[in-house]
Symmetry: D2
Subunit: 341 residues, 4 copies
């Protein structure tokens, strides 16, 4: 009766994705993305985003982020991001590696979110055009954020304005983009290029794929050399159909949003059940599939003793992540144990 709430990557793959992958596994096809599955995926993403996009599937989110940044940031560039951003904290320097040694400039921000003021403030000391300083080149936003919150389209647009005003490109780390879209109910275009985002890394893995992400350029001109960088990084998959088939099935008929919607609902259910506990404090608004909550130590210990897995962030703050495959009974069991502790 226990469950693993450590992350959404403890889940497996959605059955629809597996079925499509199995169907794609027979017969012969051109390698390196010159296959019908990739062609269909490209068309699907152009339709989904309501514009011409350049799409590059890769197998990991770290690769997607680092490669995307390397397309818009020179080696002497600086990338502005939240201090808890995955690209800064969790990728062992992949952005630095792929950009040839760019610098990440980290900014604080409540609820895991950057604000235009914070970015503007940081840019004050940037010294544009001075060769001693690394040059502001990109702003990277995480959607949904590391705190499980989401940027509204107008929030994205306001941040993009600051970035573009200063000649910086805007990257969106969309490892949990599906959760954000499912929550907001808006069009993917509204959260991205219509708000000015230049390049999105759309995460499929956490959302129900096995290992599939897509780097999506809304301005194909910025993607001109991307193919070389992807190959050079070892991220051009030989039997490309196996990446594209995953993403294509995941996106078909809104499956991605249904899966994300379930994960979000499970987070809501957790938050609803736990927030009523004495001594419990929800740390950030629950807007995606993560719940950050402070609980009494006795409760935490009881949950651990019951076999539940989750991360302790610090002191009494724990992180609970739900996924497309988190069962309602596991949420309820978790809440039940917490209540009885």
């Amino acid at each position: 009766m226990s469950h693993d709430f450590r992350s959404d990557n403890v889940a497996g793959a959605a059955p629809e994705v597996m079925t499509a992958l199995t169907a794609a596994s027979t017969g012969f096809a051109s390698p390196y993305g010159n296959d019908p599955w990739t062609e269909r995926l490209n068309k699907r993403l152009c339709a989904l985003f309501e514009t011409e996009v350049a799409v590059f599937p890769v197998a990991t989110g770290t690769a997607a982020n680092a490669l995307a940044l390397s397309a818009v940031v020179p080696p002497f560039g600086a990338v502005y991001c939240h201090e808890e951003a995955h690209i800064h904290v969790d990728e062992c320097g992949a952005p630095e590696f792929y950009t040839g040694g760019a610098k990440l400039v980290t900014l604080p921000g409540a609820n895991g979110k950057l604000t235009p003021d914070a970015v503007l403030n940081a840019l004050k000391t940037a010294q544009f055009g001075v060769v001693h300083r690394m040059q502001p080149s990109a702003l990277s936003l995480t959607q949904a954020t590391e705190a499980g919150t989401v940027y509204r389209p107008e929030e994205v647009a306001a941040l993009v304005d600051v970035a573009h005003d200063h000649g910086m490109a805007v990257h969106m780390d969309g490892a949990r983009f599906a959760n954000a879209v499912a929550r907001l109910g808006c069009a993917p275009a509204d959260l991205t290029w219509k708000a000015g985002v230049d390049v999105l890394t759309l995460g499929g893995t956490k959302g129900g794929c096995l290992a599939a992400e897509a780097v999506i350029f809304f301005n194909p001109a910025q993607a001109e050399d991307f193919g070389y960088g992807r190959k050079r990084g070892g991220h051009l998959v030989s039997k490309g159909r196996f990446l594209s088939a995953q993403l294509d099935a995941w996106l078909e008929d809104g499956l991605w949003l249904r899966l994300a919607g379930h994960a979000n609902a499970m987070a809501d259910r957790l938050a609803a059940g736990l927030s009523a506990l004495p001594g419990a404090t929800i740390a950030y608004p629950v807007e995606a599939n993560e719940v950050f909550i402070r609980l009494p130590e006795t409760v935490i210990v009881a949950l651990e003793a019951a076999g539940f897995s989750f991360y302790r962030w610090d002191g009494g703050l724990i992180r609970l992540v739900t996924s497309f495959d988190t069962p309602a009974w596991a949420v309820d069991a978790f809440v039940k144990i917490a209540k009885s502790a």
Copy 2:
């Protein structure tokens, strides 16, 4: 009645691999390779190679090669390899990228194979210890070679001796290692660490996986920092079970050798059928799953007209690659068209 002989990566995935992958797709597991599938794979590879090995699955052969080289070659190092080696010709500089700018020194060699004399000759001008020169750091052998030939254990050992005598590590690009082992019928250990190989990139993709390779260190001390490099390169797959499950199923009960054996047999069948043709000349011994053959232009044109796909290497030399999934009828149809042309 046509077929695609361009490469073995035009094939899909072996049913056994797909089945295992599907089985692995349900339920929850620790991410990043801390899962039962990866544990089982590690044990299997230790048993298969009859020694303690350090195993790092990744999704592409280019990543496997470049990361493996980066573990044994400093930025100021030189990697000696055959002039047709995949790492030199086909990876858009991935080895240069991952090593921080090492240099590949290419050597000629009949039938796609390096010889101890060729390596020794090249090392004569290397100037060890001179800071103006890049320092010989690794020898990279391809097994089976780009010419579809295979090194015997004693050939490997003789090359390793030269390398080790000069302080160089030995890397084996085993994208088609299965084909070599299947052909030679020897133990994997005999072709690798018993002959002195330091690190092998064992290719599963071309042999029937979807996208799975394993970097295998026979001296785990050389692998000490590999985990950081793999993460930093974006090659630590989040849901690691999906890489390990492929490789584990592929290696189980000798499947990998049966699949490679079929591919080899299809290459033999092609060679046997075609070599009897007037004007046909087999360019290299057919020892794996590739046939390089010179055919009269009229024959080549007739085969293309019939819908067969393959690469023209130059002039009248074509390359035909078979795979685990190449049907015998396709081979026979190819030969038939060739004969009637």
Copy 3:
């Protein structure tokens, strides 16, 4: 009657250095550091530091710092430094470039100085051995600091202890090491290897050379590959005598300390004269050749109007830097204008 107090690099070269350089300019000598001047410099530095050191002259401080760090920090490493450190703020990412993309982790600290507590605190979240995180690899101290203060030997030792306890090497950016030694009156060994410093970049340029710095390893084993890195970075000067002759003359008979002592004295003179002004506040203890002082805006404007050059740090805070060549009259004239404003 005006003067340039912007930096110590607005000065020229000490006459003794020029004389030595001119003497070195005739005749023939082996290139690349295999010359008598370099041999003499090596001996002199071994004697000066009272131990066997490995010495590598280069032409710039940025090169010296970045190359020194690259010798002790892997690409996946993190370098801990003060948030105002030159390596972070003023080198356009040279450390990132030379290390292959390491990350600088910046820490606050009063008076430009790091404290053991600040470093320990930052290391708490470092997660040693976790492949997702860049690994703490070096601590970089600036001596004298960017705030014109100096670390005492026991302060250095306490910081080194923290670093070494965590497996990190210690680099000292000694662009103004001479000013620190001149101020403290201690032995160079006491400030470096006896306190545990692994590698020092000893700055000659700001102290009276034309363009000469020395990377000095106290543990020659760490310098094993340095020669390749220096050459590869384009920092192995062909006519090496011209770097070594500068440094050798600068160090001869204590010239470096006399020159630094003069610069320090001029800073003291400035501070003494200005601190008595109404509305003046010295921002940091004046311990080297820099004065950070807050002055009324009218005073600052009057000084600028009089033709004096200096940097405004922010609001009313200005930085005044003296050098080996700063004349006392210029200091007095500056103070006089300030007083009369």
Copy 4:
């Protein structure tokens, strides 16, 4: 009575350069190239090359070459050069380092010179636009060549045509550009931008400076980011006047050509004296300041025994390099010993 003919970098500095440097050593000036010497140098080079140029002084030829290439070659680029080019053989991978891992493609060529046919032939297999292949991005010519020969303006132009026709930039490694110009008697513009060269590294060091080279862009747009790369590489000299003053004095009133002319004349004198010897064969036309000559072993041994220094290239082939400071008596003494051996 012996002499060092190993290289032109065994010489010291021209007296005129030292005098100018000494004159530049007093007083105060803005750092980082914002000084009157640098301004004068820029003007002088614009006049000398009869066009607007962007000039970046650095201290070494290796830095100049690697930085110049990095401005026109992406990480996935290939640089075509002669197999004996300094950038390939003698820079420990500096071009690979600065470009982020580009590949040098080496070509053979008689007398150290590339031909349009050799380049065209190599480009046949380049596969433009194919992501698996590194993309031809620059052609690098050495003037004078490593064999001591020189390209005529029309030879340069013919090579440039091939490069530009294929979208490649043209870099000229002019470590001995002075010797070439002095020999040909043509305008510097004729050998460079009028023949289509994009970027020249003009070597002052071998020609009589202490340590000074200039990267010169004939199309300033290609230099847009160069300042960042130079700083990042640690090659922006703090007291910039000391680089510019060297180059400015060296170029003033044709000094550079008189110095190079003397070196060339000494090479001619050597060649004339030695070629008459029985068993002597000049290997390449003597067109700059290098003599490659095959001599009987007894002669070589006698010269070595007499204390002369020079490099044995292989077997009986030796290289003799003259410089601005090579005395005629040394040449005559060398020839005399050779004759009497």
